[in-house]
C-alpha cells in the first residue's frame, strides 16, 4: 500500500494543513459573502454576485460610526496599556523589591479570569460608583485587561536582553538616561511593539467586557452582535475582509523590512 505509506510519512503535514484550513475557512466565507447580494435582512445564503457593498462600505447607518468609536478606544487603550505595562515590566525584570510575588500574581490573574467574571465585577463597581457608562468606562476596562498582556510581552523581551550591553554603554561614559534612550529602549522596542499590537487587537475585538460596560455606546463588535439579531448587512463582511487583508499586508511589510535590515547588518 504505497498510498498508506505516503499518508503515514506525511501525516503531520496533512493534519496540520487540515487544521489550517479549519482556521481559515470562516475567513474564506466572509470574503466570498462580501460579494453577495442577499435577499432579506440576513447575509447567510448565497444569492448573487455583486460589488455593491465594496463600493459603499459606509452605506449602512451607524456602521462606520461604530468602527470609528472602536478605533479611538483601541488607540487610547493601546497607548495607556503600553505605557503602564512597559513601566511594570521594567520594574519586574530590573529590580528586586519586596512585593514582587504579589505584583506578579496581580498581573497574572486578569489573564486567568473568565472575561465574563471581570466584565460583571467591573459593572458592579461602576454601578456602585454611579459612573456614567460609555466611552470612558469602556476605555478604563480595556486598559485594565490589555495591561497584563503588554507586561508579559515586554517582560519576555527585556529578560532575554544581555545586561553587558548596558554595562558597555556605561563604560563608554553614557549616563543612565543616555544608556536608556540609546541602548535599552531600542533593544526592548520589538517587545513593546508586540505588546502594543496585541493590546490593539484585543481592545478592537473585545466584545464581552465591552458589552457589559458600554451603556449605549456602540463599538464595532457590538454593532456586529446587534446585527446578528436584526439583520447582517453585507458591509460587515467587507470590513472583515479588509481587516484581514490589512493585517496580512502589515505583517508581510514588517517581515520584508526586518529581512532587509538583517541583510544590511550582515
Amino acid at each position: 500500500m504505497p498510498f498508506l505509506n505516503w499518508l503515514k510519512r506525511h501525516f503531520v503535514v496533512i493534519a496540520g494543513l487540515l487544521t489550517l484550513g479549519y482556521l481559515l475557512l470562516p475567513n474564506v466565507v466572509v470574503t466570498v459573502f462580501s460579494f453577495n447580494r442577499p435577499k432579506g435582512r440576513f447575509n447567510y445564503e448565497w444569492q448573487q454576485f455583486s460589488t455593491d457593498a465594496w463600493k459603499d462600505p459606509c452605506g449602512v447607518s451607524d456602521l462606520c460610526g461604530s468602527l470609528s468609536v472602536s478605533l479611538q478606544i483601541a488607540f487610547w487603550a493601546t497607548l495607556g496599556a503600553t505605557a503602564l505595562g512597559t513601566l511594570i515590566a521594567f520594574a519586574l525584570v530590573r529590580y528586586r523589591f519586596r512585593a514582587r510575588g504579589a505584583v506578579n500574581s496581580l498581573i497574572f490573574l486578569p489573564m486567568a479570569m473568565p472575561e465574563v467574571v471581570m466584565a460583571a465585577s467591573l459593572l458592579t463597581l461602576f454601578l456602585n460608583m454611579g459612573a456614567q457608562l460609555g466611552f470612558w468606562t469602556i476605555l478604563i476596562a480595556h486598559i485594565m485587561f490589555c495591561l497584563s498582556f503588554v507586561v508579559t510581552a515586554v517582560k519576555a523581551r527585556v529578560m532575554s536582553m544581555d545586561p553587558r550591553l548596558e554595562q558597555a554603554a556605561q563604560d563608554l561614559y553614557a549616563g543612565p538616561f543616555q544608556t536608556f534612550i540609546r541602548v535599552t529602549l531600542p533593544i526592548a522596542a520589538p517587545g513593546i511593539a508586540a505588546g502594543a499590537l496585541l493590546a490593539f487587537a484585543l481592545s478592537f475585538d473585545d466584545f464581552i467586557i465591552t458589552n457589559f460596560n458600554a451603556g449605549s455606546t456602540v463599538t464595532f463588535p457590538m454593532f456586529v452582535w446587534g446585527s446578528a439579531q436584526r439583520g447582517t448587512p453585507v458591509q460587515i463582511n467587507v470590513i472583515g475582509t479588509a481587516m484581514f487583508l490589512v493585517a496580512v499586508l502589515l505583517v508581510l511589510a514588517s517581515m520584508v523590512i526586518s529581512n532587509r535590515r538583517n541583510r544590511q547588518k550582515a
Binding site: G16, L24, Y44, I88, A112, E115, A120, I143, F207, I236
Partner: protein, 309 residues
C-alpha cells in the same frame, strides 16, 4: 523504583534565575509600578470586592440593595443553574481536547516541518485574529447551515446518525445543537492552543530527535517519549488558555446554539443585563470563578508544572 517513573531532568541545563542587580534609588521600582498597579487594584481587585459584597446583598432595584449576608443566594443560584454549569464545563473540556488534537499537528508542522513556509503559516494562524471574531463566528452559521454542504456530507457519511444518537445533534441539523457550539468554541480558541504549543516545541533541540532515532526508536516512540513530554509546558498553558475563556464564553452558545445549549456565561449575561438581578448574577460569576480556580489548581498540581503561575 519510584525514581524511574519520574520525568528525566531536562537535558539542557536551565540557567538559574539571574538575580537583578541592585540599583541606585530604592524607591525607583515602586514609582515604575505605581500607575499600572494602581489601575489594576482599582479596576480589577476592587471590583471583585464589590462583587463579593453584591452577592450577599438582598433588596430590589427600586428600593436599593443592602448587605444582609444572605448566603442562600449562592445555594439558590447553584441549585437552579447547575445544568448550565455542567454544560459549560463539558463544552469547554470538549473544545479544549479538540483544540489539542487539532492544534498539535499544526504547531508541530510550523516548528519542525515548515521550512521556508514557516512565516507564511504563522501569518495565516495569526491574521484571522484581526477579522472581528464575531464576524467569523457568524460565518459558521453559513458553513453549518441546514442543507448546506457540510451537513450534507455528514449526512451522507452517516456521521449525523452517530451524533444524533449521542445527543450532540438533532435531526438533520447541526446549527443550534451542542456540536455547533463546541465547533465554534474550538475554532475561536484554537490559536490560543497553537501559539504556546509552537513556542514550547520550537525550543526542543532537534538533536534529541536524532539521538532517539539513533537508538532505534520508531517515530511514534520518539514522539511519545521525547517530543510530547518536552512540550508539556506548552500543552499545559495551551489547555488553560483555551479552557478558561471557553468555560466563560457566551457568544458561541448564543450565536450557534439554542436555548438548550445555554452556558453559564449566557445566564450571567442575562441576569446582569436583562433581568437585573445583581445578587444572583454576582453569586453565579463567583461560583464560576471558584470552580475554575479549583480545577486549574488541581490540573497544574497534577501536571507538575507549578512554575507556570
Amino acid at each position: 523504583m519510584a525514581t524511574l517513573t519520574e520525568a528525566p531532568p531536562p537535558l539542557t541545563p536551565t540557567a538559574p534565575e539571574k538575580k537583578p542587580p541592585r540599583r541606585r534609588g530604592r524607591f525607583t521600582p515602586y514609582w515604575l509600578l505605581l500607575p499600572g498597579i494602581l489601575w489594576l487594584l482599582v479596576f480589577f481587585a476592587l471590583p471583585m470586592i464589590y462583587q463579593a459584597s453584591t452577592s450577599v446583598q438582598t433588596g430590589s432595584l427600586e428600593e436599593g440593595y443592602k448587605v444582609t449576608w444572605h448566603f442562600v443566594t449562592y445555594w439558590d443560584a447553584l441549585s437552579e443553574y447547575w445544568p448550565q454549569f455542567l454544560r459549560s464545563v463539558a463544552y469547554a473540556a470538549a473544545a479544549t481536547v479538540l483544540c489539542l488534537v487539532l492544534g498539535y499537528p499544526l504547531a508541530y508542522l510550523i516548528a519542525f516541518r515548515a521550512g521556508r513556509w514557516r512565516n507564511l503559516i504563522m501569518i495565516l494562524v495569526i491574521a484571522p485574529f484581526f477579522t472581528s471574531f464575531l464576524i467569523r463566528t457568524l460565518a459558521w452559521k453559513t458553513i453549518l447551515a441546514d442543507g448546506g454542504p457540510v451537513v450534507g456530507a455528514l449526512n451522507t457519511l452517516h456521521v449525523l446518525d452517530v451524533t444524533n444518537w449521542l445527543g450532540w445533534t438533532a435531526g438533520d441539523r447541526v446549527l443550534a445543537t451542542p456540536l455547533a457550539v463546541v465547533c465554534g468554541l474550538t475554532y475561536n480558541f484554537l490559536p490560543f492552543m497553537i501559539l504556546p504549543l509552537y513556542t514550547s516545541l520550537e525550543r526542543i533541540d532537534g538533536r534529541l530527535h536524532e539521538a532517539a532515532g539513533d537508538l532505534y526508536a520508531r517515530p511514534i516512540t520518539v514522539f511519545r517519549k521525547v517530543t510530547f513530554p518536552l512540550s508539556m509546558p506548552g500543552v499545559v498553558s495551551g489547555t488553560l488558555l483555551t479552557f478558561i475563556p471557553a468555560a466563560g464564553d457566551y457568544v458561541n452558545a448564543d450565536l450557534l446554539g439554542s436555548t438548550d445549549t445555554r452556558m453559564i456565561g449566557n445566564v450571567i449575561q442575562s441576569q446582569f443585563l436583562r433581568i437585573l438581578d445583581y445578587p444572583t448574577a454576582a453569586a453565579l460569576s463567583f461560583i464560576l470563578m471558584a470552580a475554575i480556580l479549583v480545577m486549574v489548581t488541581v490540573y497544574i498540581r497534577r501536571s507538575g508544572t507549578e512554575d507556570l503561575v
